[in-house]
Symmetry: C2
Subunit: 339 residues, 2 copies
């Protein structure tokens, strides 16, 4: 007996034919006699033959694998993106390999290097908060390995991109607060070096100026991590000042941090303070009051990114460089309701 998994060679030997015949028979190539074809296929099934993935890859120079680089895995939005990517990938016969950079530039560089040596047919990336230098992505372009950016993109590299219309989302959210009667609206956002946060802030500003409302430097808060605890701490003085009647938070967690402060300060929600968050995390439906928010269609984004990537892999000659912009929708819940 032999060890390892059964190969085409084993089948060939057992049937006294050549490996090429077996290969062709398995592919149902009419060049090989029907009788032989059936015999080969039967034996293959009997032995539970499965083509050796690596050998296939080497021959075809295709790994049928897509790489994903994301800053975080334990994150509702990114999880949904991955799910979208996976669904489209699987449907097209691709597998997916995920690297989470943990928001570290260093790790991101490491990950890209690990994926560049013919391990994946293409890459989808969302850059980390730390990333300022994009050399590691340039290498993909140099080697003409298809690359797609999503969400946190890098403008300097020519590649298809899938993003949310963060500007419009910020605008919508703020406008909604204005329509609900707010006149002193604060902004609590994530790290300002990320384009998405600059855009959300810009949308906020646009809505304000359109309505001839003012803001103050103190009303604009940037959180480096963007997590709950940081948001809670940084927004505490602002809320205690009782100067404002509305908050647009660029993250649901920041919104909840702010609401906690408000409750602590004895404010009644939503009567004394209206809040709109961002991302439509599931916690927003459970919190009390439930949180108004802007949708962030992660699943659709992943789907689109995978679609663009696979399209590029299949047509290496024509390079796509479009930027796809997905729209965010306002979801009104208790936290911004007036009656």
């Amino acid at each position: 007996m032999k060890k390892g998994p059964v190969t085409i060679k084993d089948i060939a030997r057992e049937l006294n034919v050549s490996v090429s015949t077996v290969s062709r028979a398995l592919a149902d190539n009419p060049l090989v006699k029907l009788e032989t074809r059936l015999a080969v296929k039967e034996l293959a099934k009997k032995h539970n033959y499965r083509p050796h993935f690596t050998a296939l890859s080497l021959r075809s120079n295709k790994t049928k694998t897509l790489g994903i680089i994301i800053p975080q895995l334990v994150h509702e939005f990114f999880s949904m993106v991955i799910r979208g990517i996976e669904d489209h990938a699987y449907a097209n016969g691709y597998n997916v390999i995920i690297s989470s950079s943990h928001e570290s530039y260093e790790r991101e560089v490491l990950d890209t290097k690990a994926l560049i040596n013919g391990r994946v047919d293409g890459l989808m990336a969302c850059i980390s908060k730390e990333t300022k230098d994009y050399e590691h992505f340039k290498e993909f372009v140099d080697r003409s390995i298809p690359l797609v950016f999503f969400d946190c993109i890098c403008d300097e590299i020519e590649a298809p991109k899938v993003v949310l219309d963060d500007f419009d989302a910020g605008y919508q959210a703020t406008k909604h607060l204005i329509q609900q009667g707010c006149t002193s609206i604060a902004y609590v956002g994530g790290p300002i070096n990320l384009l998405i946060n600059r855009d959300r802030l810009a949308g906020y500003n646009k809505a304000l100026s359109e309505a001839n409302l003012n803001t103050k430097d103190d009303w604009i808060i940037h959180c480096d991590s963007g997590d709950y605890e940081e948001g809670r701490q940084k927004s505490e003085p602002l809320i205690n000042s009782k100067e404002i009647d509305g908050i647009f938070a660029a993250t649901d967690m920041l919104a909840i941090g702010a609401m906690k402060n408000a409750k602590k300060a004895g404010l009644k929600l939503p009567d004394d303070l209206l809040v709109v968050g961002f991302s439509n995390w599931s916690i927003g439906t459970l919190y009390e009051p439930s949180l108004s928010t802007m949708s962030q269609p992660g699943y659709e984004m992943g789907l689109k990114a995978a679609e663009l990537l696979i399209k590029q892999i299949d047509n290496p000659e024509q390079t796509i460089t479009e930027t796809f912009v997905l729209k965010s929708e306002l979801i009104v819940r208790e936290s911004s309701m007036t009656d």
Copy 2:
């Protein structure tokens, strides 16, 4: 000029040496003259040479890739498991390929089949709620591909396993409620065909009988999906009956569903009803009242699973079949506090 990525051949040609010399030089083999070695390495660096992953795999019959099969990706616990796996894998030069079965038996079978053809060096799996048949895992054993189960395991297959002590956790949680003065404690849990849920329930029963407390059939609720909405609906009659003064929920989401009902029914939390959840999801800290819960060390579980798997890959001869049991710890928050 040539197209594709630079190979060992290209370097050999350019330097007028053989491929074997280049290969050895890159490996810093002292058989090749220092001068040649340096020249090769310099040129390799200049051309940004990277060994072709697939070719390496084919030669060595190692993919340096670990497979993961999980029921869900968008899930705080599983995300943490993956993070633990990734950390250990990366540290040992492995990559990771994740397939989420979406709790579907069919998809799970598909995923295992996709990974069995020499794509991964080993597999870590957590079976789906639907899975009753384990043939697809037997194949791994047959082909002696290392396999490790975690969390939702399958007893019938001989393989190392990493699990939580769910029985003890259920016992601890219930005992805590008893110590806090509860005498009529209900159980709200997930699908009972999963061992973990049977164990949690058994722990609950043990604690009750130890304290000479009774339960009723109506006080034991099984949710097939285990998600928030199902839990809310199924526990509503129980809570409205006002027969109980404590709930042990086998999931934080189920616990929150129950608490919502309680609030709706006009109960005061935690005065009228104490609740302990399970898994220590982040939402539990934000909800009001904050939720007491049992820790579920996903990161550690992933770490351990990866460690066992890699150990098995490195020592194919000796088969490990131990079951590693991680302990769960009670985390007391407002929802079960009496004062």
